[in-house]
Protein backbone atom coordinates (compact mmCIF):
# COMPACT_ATOMS: atom_id res chain seq x y z
CA UNK A 1 0.00 0.00 0.00
CA UNK A 2 1.41 3.40 -0.99
CA UNK A 3 1.49 6.52 1.20
CA UNK A 4 -1.26 8.00 -0.94
CA UNK A 5 -3.42 4.93 -0.35
CA UNK A 6 -2.84 5.20 3.39
CA UNK A 7 -3.71 8.91 3.40
CA UNK A 8 -6.82 8.26 1.31
CA UNK A 9 -7.99 5.69 3.87
CA UNK A 10 -7.38 8.07 6.77
CA UNK A 11 -9.17 10.99 5.12
CA UNK A 12 -11.93 8.67 4.02
CA UNK A 13 -12.44 7.65 7.62
CA UNK A 14 -12.51 11.27 8.76
CA UNK A 15 -15.22 11.95 6.17
CA UNK A 16 -17.16 8.81 7.03
CA UNK A 17 -16.82 7.54 3.52
CA UNK A 18 -15.16 4.15 4.02
CA UNK A 19 -16.78 0.88 3.09
CA UNK A 20 -16.64 -1.93 5.64
CA UNK A 21 -13.83 -3.49 3.67
CA UNK A 22 -11.84 -0.25 3.67
CA UNK A 23 -12.46 0.17 7.39
CA UNK A 24 -11.01 -3.29 7.95
CA UNK A 25 -7.97 -2.37 5.84
CA UNK A 26 -7.45 0.76 7.91
CA UNK A 27 -7.84 -1.11 11.19
CA UNK A 28 -5.13 -3.57 10.12
CA UNK A 29 -2.91 -0.70 9.07
CA UNK A 30 -3.33 1.11 12.38
CA UNK A 31 -2.46 -2.01 14.31
CA UNK A 32 0.60 -2.69 12.21
CA UNK A 33 2.08 0.82 12.04
CA UNK A 34 2.22 3.13 15.08
CA UNK A 35 3.25 6.07 12.87
CA UNK A 36 0.08 5.75 10.85
CA UNK A 37 -1.85 5.64 14.10
CA UNK A 38 -0.23 8.89 15.25
CA UNK A 39 -0.98 10.52 11.93
CA UNK A 40 -4.61 9.40 12.03
CA UNK A 41 -5.01 10.63 15.63
CA UNK A 42 -3.51 14.02 14.79
CA UNK A 43 -5.75 14.50 11.77
CA UNK A 44 -8.74 13.40 13.82
CA UNK A 45 -7.78 15.93 16.48
CA UNK A 46 -7.47 18.61 13.79
CA UNK A 47 -10.95 17.87 12.44
CA UNK A 48 -12.40 17.96 15.95
CA UNK A 49 -10.82 21.36 16.50
CA UNK A 50 -12.15 22.68 13.22
CA UNK A 51 -15.59 21.45 14.20
CA UNK A 52 -15.11 23.04 17.61
CA UNK A 53 -14.72 26.51 16.15
CA UNK A 54 -18.49 26.73 16.30
CA UNK A 55 -20.86 29.12 14.66
CA UNK A 56 -20.99 32.76 15.66
CA UNK A 57 -24.37 34.42 15.65
CA UNK A 58 -24.38 37.42 13.32
CA UNK A 59 -25.64 40.63 14.90
CA UNK A 60 -29.27 41.56 14.14
CA UNK A 61 -27.97 44.67 12.41
CA UNK A 62 -26.76 42.47 9.53
CA UNK A 63 -30.23 41.49 8.41
CA UNK A 64 -31.58 45.00 8.91
CA UNK A 65 -28.69 46.46 7.00
CA UNK A 66 -29.18 44.07 4.06
CA UNK A 67 -32.90 44.67 3.85
CA UNK A 68 -32.52 48.42 4.11
CA UNK A 69 -30.11 48.46 1.19
CA UNK A 70 -32.10 46.24 -1.15
CA UNK A 71 -32.91 48.03 -4.38
CA UNK A 72 -36.57 48.23 -5.33
CA UNK A 73 -36.38 45.26 -7.68
CA UNK A 74 -33.84 42.60 -8.56
CA UNK A 75 -31.60 43.43 -11.45
CA UNK A 76 -32.95 40.32 -13.10
CA UNK A 77 -35.58 42.39 -14.78
CA UNK A 78 -32.96 44.59 -16.39
CA UNK A 79 -30.67 41.74 -17.36
CA UNK A 80 -33.49 39.65 -18.72
CA UNK A 81 -34.84 42.58 -20.67
CA UNK A 82 -31.41 43.17 -22.02
CA UNK A 83 -31.17 39.59 -23.27
CA UNK A 84 -34.78 39.12 -24.07
CA UNK A 85 -35.62 38.04 -27.57
CA UNK A 86 -38.87 39.97 -27.44
CA UNK A 87 -37.03 43.16 -26.65
CA UNK A 88 -34.71 42.22 -29.44
CA UNK A 89 -31.15 42.86 -30.17
CA UNK A 90 -32.11 44.98 -33.15
CA UNK A 91 -34.30 47.20 -31.10
CA UNK A 92 -31.50 47.64 -28.61
CA UNK A 93 -29.01 48.33 -31.37
CA UNK A 94 -31.46 50.78 -32.92
CA UNK A 95 -31.81 52.51 -29.59
CA UNK A 96 -28.06 52.88 -29.42
CA UNK A 97 -27.87 54.11 -32.97
CA UNK A 98 -30.61 56.60 -32.19
CA UNK A 99 -28.75 57.78 -29.18
CA UNK A 100 -25.62 58.23 -31.21
CA UNK A 101 -27.20 59.97 -34.18
CA UNK A 102 -29.39 62.23 -32.10
CA UNK A 103 -26.34 63.48 -30.41
CA UNK A 104 -27.47 62.58 -26.94
CA UNK A 105 -24.18 60.81 -26.47
CA UNK A 106 -21.20 62.99 -27.09
CA UNK A 107 -18.30 60.72 -27.55
CA UNK A 108 -14.92 62.23 -27.15
CA UNK A 109 -11.75 60.28 -27.15
CA UNK A 110 -9.34 62.06 -24.92
CA UNK A 111 -6.38 59.81 -25.59
CA UNK A 112 -5.67 56.30 -26.70
CA UNK A 113 -6.51 54.43 -29.84
CA UNK A 114 -9.82 54.86 -31.55
CA UNK A 115 -12.24 52.06 -30.82
CA UNK A 116 -12.32 49.20 -33.23
CA UNK A 117 -15.41 49.20 -35.38
CA UNK A 118 -16.43 45.69 -34.40
CA UNK A 119 -16.45 46.70 -30.75
CA UNK A 120 -18.84 49.56 -31.29
CA UNK A 121 -21.16 47.56 -33.44
CA UNK A 122 -20.91 44.31 -31.60
CA UNK A 123 -21.39 45.46 -28.06
CA UNK A 124 -25.13 45.64 -28.08
CA UNK A 125 -25.70 42.96 -30.64
CA UNK A 126 -24.29 39.94 -28.88
CA UNK A 127 -26.75 37.82 -26.96
CA UNK A 128 -24.40 36.76 -24.22
CA UNK A 129 -24.71 39.75 -21.90
CA UNK A 130 -23.41 39.09 -18.43
CA UNK A 131 -23.36 41.37 -15.43
CA UNK A 132 -19.80 42.25 -14.50
CA UNK A 133 -20.22 44.79 -11.73
CA UNK A 134 -22.79 47.14 -10.33
CA UNK A 135 -22.80 50.03 -7.94
CA UNK A 136 -25.50 51.84 -6.05
CA UNK A 137 -25.64 55.58 -6.52
CA UNK A 138 -27.11 56.27 -3.16
CA UNK A 139 -26.37 59.75 -1.98
CA UNK A 140 -26.87 63.31 -3.11
CA UNK A 141 -29.41 64.52 -5.62
CA UNK A 142 -28.90 61.54 -7.94
CA UNK A 143 -29.89 58.05 -6.81
CA UNK A 144 -30.15 54.69 -8.49
CA UNK A 145 -27.64 52.23 -9.77
CA UNK A 146 -25.19 51.66 -12.56
CA UNK A 147 -24.49 48.20 -13.93
CA UNK A 148 -21.61 47.11 -16.10
CA UNK A 149 -22.28 44.39 -18.64
CA UNK A 150 -19.97 42.34 -20.75
CA UNK A 151 -21.32 40.96 -23.93
CA UNK A 152 -19.30 39.48 -26.69
CA UNK A 153 -16.29 41.64 -27.30
CA UNK A 154 -17.34 44.78 -25.46
CA UNK A 155 -18.73 46.43 -22.40
CA UNK A 156 -21.91 48.38 -21.83
CA UNK A 157 -23.27 50.29 -18.90
CA UNK A 158 -26.91 50.40 -17.80
CA UNK A 159 -27.95 53.45 -15.80
CA UNK A 160 -31.13 53.50 -13.76
CA UNK A 161 -31.32 56.88 -12.10
CA UNK A 162 -33.70 59.20 -10.37
CA UNK A 163 -33.05 62.88 -9.93
CA UNK A 164 -34.91 66.09 -9.32
CA UNK A 165 -33.08 67.91 -12.10
CA UNK A 166 -31.54 67.23 -15.45
CA UNK A 167 -28.42 65.06 -15.10
CA UNK A 168 -25.44 64.55 -17.37
CA UNK A 169 -23.14 61.59 -16.88
CA UNK A 170 -19.45 61.57 -17.64
CA UNK A 171 -17.98 58.08 -18.02
CA UNK A 172 -14.22 57.83 -18.08
CA UNK A 173 -11.81 54.95 -18.14
CA UNK A 174 -8.18 54.59 -19.07
CA UNK A 175 -8.04 57.59 -21.32
CA UNK A 176 -11.51 57.27 -22.84
CA UNK A 177 -14.27 59.61 -21.93
CA UNK A 178 -17.96 59.58 -22.82
CA UNK A 179 -20.59 62.07 -21.90
CA UNK A 180 -24.32 61.40 -21.87
CA UNK A 181 -26.25 64.64 -21.72
CA UNK A 182 -29.68 65.09 -20.18
CA UNK A 183 -29.86 61.52 -18.96
CA UNK A 184 -32.62 62.50 -16.59
CA UNK A 185 -34.42 65.28 -18.35
CA UNK A 186 -35.97 68.08 -16.39
CA UNK A 187 -38.38 68.14 -14.71
CA UNK A 188 -37.76 65.45 -12.13
CA UNK A 189 -37.92 61.84 -13.15
CA UNK A 190 -36.40 58.41 -13.42
CA UNK A 191 -34.70 56.86 -16.37
CA UNK A 192 -33.16 53.58 -17.44
CA UNK A 193 -30.67 53.80 -20.25
CA UNK A 194 -28.02 51.48 -21.62
CA UNK A 195 -24.96 52.69 -23.47
CA UNK A 196 -22.12 50.83 -25.08
CA UNK A 197 -18.58 51.70 -24.08
CA UNK A 198 -16.62 51.43 -27.30
CA UNK A 199 -12.90 51.37 -26.80
CA UNK A 200 -13.08 50.48 -23.12
CA UNK A 201 -11.17 47.28 -22.86
CA UNK A 202 -11.36 44.52 -20.29
CA UNK A 203 -8.19 45.09 -18.36
CA UNK A 204 -9.45 45.18 -14.81
CA UNK A 205 -9.43 48.95 -14.79
CA UNK A 206 -11.78 51.31 -12.99
CA UNK A 207 -14.60 52.98 -14.87
CA UNK A 208 -15.43 56.28 -13.20
CA UNK A 209 -18.92 57.71 -13.42
CA UNK A 210 -19.41 61.37 -12.60
CA UNK A 211 -22.95 62.70 -12.34
CA UNK A 212 -23.34 66.36 -13.19
CA UNK A 213 -26.14 68.78 -12.57
CA UNK A 214 -25.76 72.17 -14.14
CA UNK A 215 -22.25 71.22 -15.14
CA UNK A 216 -21.23 70.61 -11.53
CA UNK A 217 -20.26 67.18 -10.23
CA UNK A 218 -22.77 66.08 -7.62
CA UNK A 219 -21.98 62.41 -7.25
CA UNK A 220 -19.46 59.82 -8.32
CA UNK A 221 -19.38 56.05 -8.61
CA UNK A 222 -16.85 53.50 -9.77
CA UNK A 223 -17.31 50.27 -11.68
CA UNK A 224 -14.57 47.77 -12.37
CA UNK A 225 -14.02 46.21 -15.75
CA UNK A 226 -13.09 42.53 -15.83
CA UNK A 227 -9.69 41.33 -16.86
CA UNK A 228 -9.87 39.43 -20.09
CA UNK A 229 -8.36 36.00 -19.45
Amino acid sequence: MTDDDRMALIHGELDGELSSEQRADLARLLLADPQVRVLRDELQDLCNRLGGLGQSEPPPVLRDSILRRLPPAPLATVAQTYRSASFGRWRLAAMLAGLLTAGTIVYETVTGPAPAGRETAGTMAADTAAVVDWVTVGSGPVTGRATLYRDGSGLAVALELSAAQSVDVLISSAGHSFRINDLVSAPAGSVRRTAALPGVRMQGQAIELTFLIGGRAVSRATLHAPSRP
Binding site: H11, L46, S56, R63, S65, P74, A76
Partner: protein, 179 residues
Protein backbone atom coordinates in the same frame (compact mmCIF):
# COMPACT_ATOMS: atom_id res chain seq x y z
CA UNK B 1 -45.00 33.24 5.45
CA UNK B 2 -44.88 29.48 5.89
CA UNK B 3 -41.60 27.66 5.49
CA UNK B 4 -40.90 27.47 1.76
CA UNK B 5 -38.00 25.75 0.07
CA UNK B 6 -35.20 27.76 -1.52
CA UNK B 7 -36.38 27.21 -5.08
CA UNK B 8 -39.83 28.57 -4.31
CA UNK B 9 -38.43 31.55 -2.46
CA UNK B 10 -36.09 32.34 -5.34
CA UNK B 11 -38.98 32.14 -7.77
CA UNK B 12 -41.06 34.50 -5.65
CA UNK B 13 -38.08 36.78 -5.32
CA UNK B 14 -37.77 36.92 -9.10
CA UNK B 15 -41.39 37.92 -9.24
CA UNK B 16 -40.55 40.89 -7.09
CA UNK B 17 -41.49 39.63 -3.62
CA UNK B 18 -38.97 41.19 -1.28
CA UNK B 19 -40.35 39.22 1.65
CA UNK B 20 -39.23 36.02 -0.08
CA UNK B 21 -35.70 37.32 -0.20
CA UNK B 22 -35.95 38.28 3.47
CA UNK B 23 -36.66 34.61 4.23
CA UNK B 24 -33.51 33.63 2.35
CA UNK B 25 -31.51 36.20 4.31
CA UNK B 26 -32.85 34.83 7.59
CA UNK B 27 -32.08 31.29 6.49
CA UNK B 28 -28.54 31.87 5.26
CA UNK B 29 -27.14 34.90 7.06
CA UNK B 30 -25.56 32.81 9.78
CA UNK B 31 -23.73 30.27 7.60
CA UNK B 32 -22.62 32.94 5.14
CA UNK B 33 -21.37 35.15 7.97
CA UNK B 34 -19.49 32.25 9.54
CA UNK B 35 -17.85 31.24 6.28
CA UNK B 36 -16.69 34.83 5.84
CA UNK B 37 -15.54 35.03 9.46
CA UNK B 38 -13.35 31.96 9.10
CA UNK B 39 -12.04 33.03 5.71
CA UNK B 40 -11.15 36.53 6.90
CA UNK B 41 -10.82 36.22 10.68
CA UNK B 42 -12.20 39.69 11.12
CA UNK B 43 -15.73 40.27 12.31
CA UNK B 44 -16.28 43.61 10.59
CA UNK B 45 -14.89 42.35 7.28
CA UNK B 46 -17.10 39.28 7.59
CA UNK B 47 -20.17 41.45 8.14
CA UNK B 48 -19.27 43.54 5.10
CA UNK B 49 -18.82 40.43 2.97
CA UNK B 50 -22.06 38.89 4.19
CA UNK B 51 -23.95 42.07 3.39
CA UNK B 52 -22.41 42.41 -0.06
CA UNK B 53 -23.10 38.74 -0.75
CA UNK B 54 -26.82 39.09 -0.13
CA UNK B 55 -27.10 42.38 -1.99
CA UNK B 56 -25.38 40.89 -5.03
CA UNK B 57 -27.53 37.78 -4.79
CA UNK B 58 -30.66 39.91 -4.83
CA UNK B 59 -29.42 42.10 -7.62
CA UNK B 60 -28.49 39.14 -9.79
CA UNK B 61 -31.10 36.60 -8.80
CA UNK B 62 -32.12 36.57 -12.46
CA UNK B 63 -28.72 35.12 -13.33
CA UNK B 64 -29.12 32.25 -10.87
CA UNK B 65 -29.38 28.89 -12.60
CA UNK B 66 -31.99 26.75 -10.83
CA UNK B 67 -30.10 23.65 -11.96
CA UNK B 68 -27.76 24.39 -9.06
CA UNK B 69 -28.58 24.59 -5.37
CA UNK B 70 -29.27 28.12 -4.22
CA UNK B 71 -26.89 27.90 -1.29
CA UNK B 72 -24.06 26.74 -3.59
CA UNK B 73 -24.59 29.87 -5.66
CA UNK B 74 -24.76 32.01 -2.52
CA UNK B 75 -21.58 30.50 -1.07
CA UNK B 76 -19.85 31.04 -4.39
CA UNK B 77 -20.63 34.74 -4.22
CA UNK B 78 -19.50 34.85 -0.59
CA UNK B 79 -16.23 33.05 -1.32
CA UNK B 80 -15.48 35.37 -4.24
CA UNK B 81 -16.11 38.36 -2.02
CA UNK B 82 -13.82 36.90 0.65
CA UNK B 83 -11.06 36.30 -1.89
CA UNK B 84 -11.43 39.87 -3.14
CA UNK B 85 -11.21 41.16 0.43
CA UNK B 86 -8.12 39.04 1.08
CA UNK B 87 -6.47 40.26 -2.10
CA UNK B 88 -6.83 43.83 -0.88
CA UNK B 89 -5.07 43.06 2.39
CA UNK B 90 -1.36 43.40 2.93
CA UNK B 91 0.60 40.19 2.41
CA UNK B 92 0.34 37.68 5.19
CA UNK B 93 3.34 37.08 7.35
CA UNK B 94 3.02 40.55 8.74
CA UNK B 95 0.26 39.39 11.02
CA UNK B 96 -1.58 42.58 11.74
CA UNK B 97 -3.37 42.84 15.05
CA UNK B 98 -6.06 44.83 13.32
CA UNK B 99 -7.02 41.90 11.15
CA UNK B 100 -7.58 39.59 14.07
CA UNK B 101 -11.14 38.75 14.97
CA UNK B 102 -12.11 40.92 17.90
CA UNK B 103 -15.66 39.74 18.09
CA UNK B 104 -17.00 37.71 21.00
CA UNK B 105 -18.08 34.59 19.10
CA UNK B 106 -18.82 31.40 20.99
CA UNK B 107 -15.27 30.33 20.37
CA UNK B 108 -14.19 33.33 22.44
CA UNK B 109 -16.28 32.20 25.35
CA UNK B 110 -13.45 29.83 26.08
CA UNK B 111 -10.93 32.65 26.32
CA UNK B 112 -7.48 31.29 26.76
CA UNK B 113 -8.27 28.10 24.99
CA UNK B 114 -4.98 27.80 23.22
CA UNK B 115 -6.14 24.92 21.09
CA UNK B 116 -8.84 26.96 19.39
CA UNK B 117 -6.54 29.93 18.93
CA UNK B 118 -3.95 27.67 17.40
CA UNK B 119 -6.38 26.30 14.83
CA UNK B 120 -7.57 29.82 14.00
CA UNK B 121 -3.98 30.90 13.49
CA UNK B 122 -3.23 27.85 11.37
CA UNK B 123 -6.25 28.48 9.15
CA UNK B 124 -4.95 31.93 8.33
CA UNK B 125 -1.55 30.50 7.41
CA UNK B 126 -2.73 28.19 4.66
CA UNK B 127 -3.42 29.57 1.21
CA UNK B 128 -6.89 31.03 0.54
CA UNK B 129 -7.46 28.20 -1.93
CA UNK B 130 -6.93 25.54 0.75
CA UNK B 131 -8.71 27.60 3.40
CA UNK B 132 -11.75 27.82 1.15
CA UNK B 133 -12.28 24.07 0.92
CA UNK B 134 -11.56 23.65 4.63
CA UNK B 135 -14.10 26.28 5.61
CA UNK B 136 -16.75 24.97 3.26
CA UNK B 137 -16.26 21.44 4.56
CA UNK B 138 -15.73 21.96 8.28
CA UNK B 139 -17.54 25.24 8.96
CA UNK B 140 -20.33 25.23 6.38
CA UNK B 141 -20.40 21.43 6.56
CA UNK B 142 -20.95 21.02 2.84
CA UNK B 143 -20.50 17.68 1.15
CA UNK B 144 -17.78 17.19 -1.43
CA UNK B 145 -20.47 17.36 -4.10
CA UNK B 146 -21.73 20.69 -2.78
CA UNK B 147 -18.23 22.12 -2.51
CA UNK B 148 -17.48 21.03 -6.06
CA UNK B 149 -20.66 22.74 -7.26
CA UNK B 150 -19.90 25.87 -5.26
CA UNK B 151 -16.37 26.22 -6.56
CA UNK B 152 -17.00 24.86 -10.03
CA UNK B 153 -14.35 22.17 -9.54
CA UNK B 154 -14.34 18.41 -10.00
CA UNK B 155 -14.99 16.50 -6.77
CA UNK B 156 -11.62 14.84 -7.11
CA UNK B 157 -9.90 18.22 -7.01
CA UNK B 158 -11.92 19.25 -3.96
CA UNK B 159 -10.89 16.08 -2.14
CA UNK B 160 -7.28 16.54 -3.07
CA UNK B 161 -7.31 20.14 -1.86
CA UNK B 162 -9.00 19.25 1.37
CA UNK B 163 -6.52 16.49 2.09
CA UNK B 164 -3.64 18.88 1.41
CA UNK B 165 -5.26 21.50 3.61
CA UNK B 166 -5.65 19.13 6.53
CA UNK B 167 -2.05 18.02 6.25
CA UNK B 168 -0.79 21.61 6.10
CA UNK B 169 -2.93 22.55 9.08
CA UNK B 170 -1.60 19.59 11.00
CA UNK B 171 1.96 20.64 10.13
CA UNK B 172 1.28 24.17 11.42
CA UNK B 173 -0.16 22.83 14.64
CA UNK B 174 2.84 20.59 15.11
CA UNK B 175 5.22 23.46 14.45
CA UNK B 176 3.60 25.59 17.12
CA UNK B 177 3.44 22.68 19.54
CA UNK B 178 -0.33 22.60 19.58
CA UNK B 179 -0.42 18.86 18.92
Amino acid sequence: MKELDDATLVLRCREGHRDAFEQLVIRYQKPVFNVALRMLRNRQDALDVAQTTFLKAYEHVGDYDPAFRFYSWLYRIAINECLNALALRKPRGELDANTADEGPGPDRAAEGDQALHAIEDALMLVSPELRTVTVLRHIAQLSYEDIAETLGLPEKTVKSRLHSARERLRDHLRQCGAI
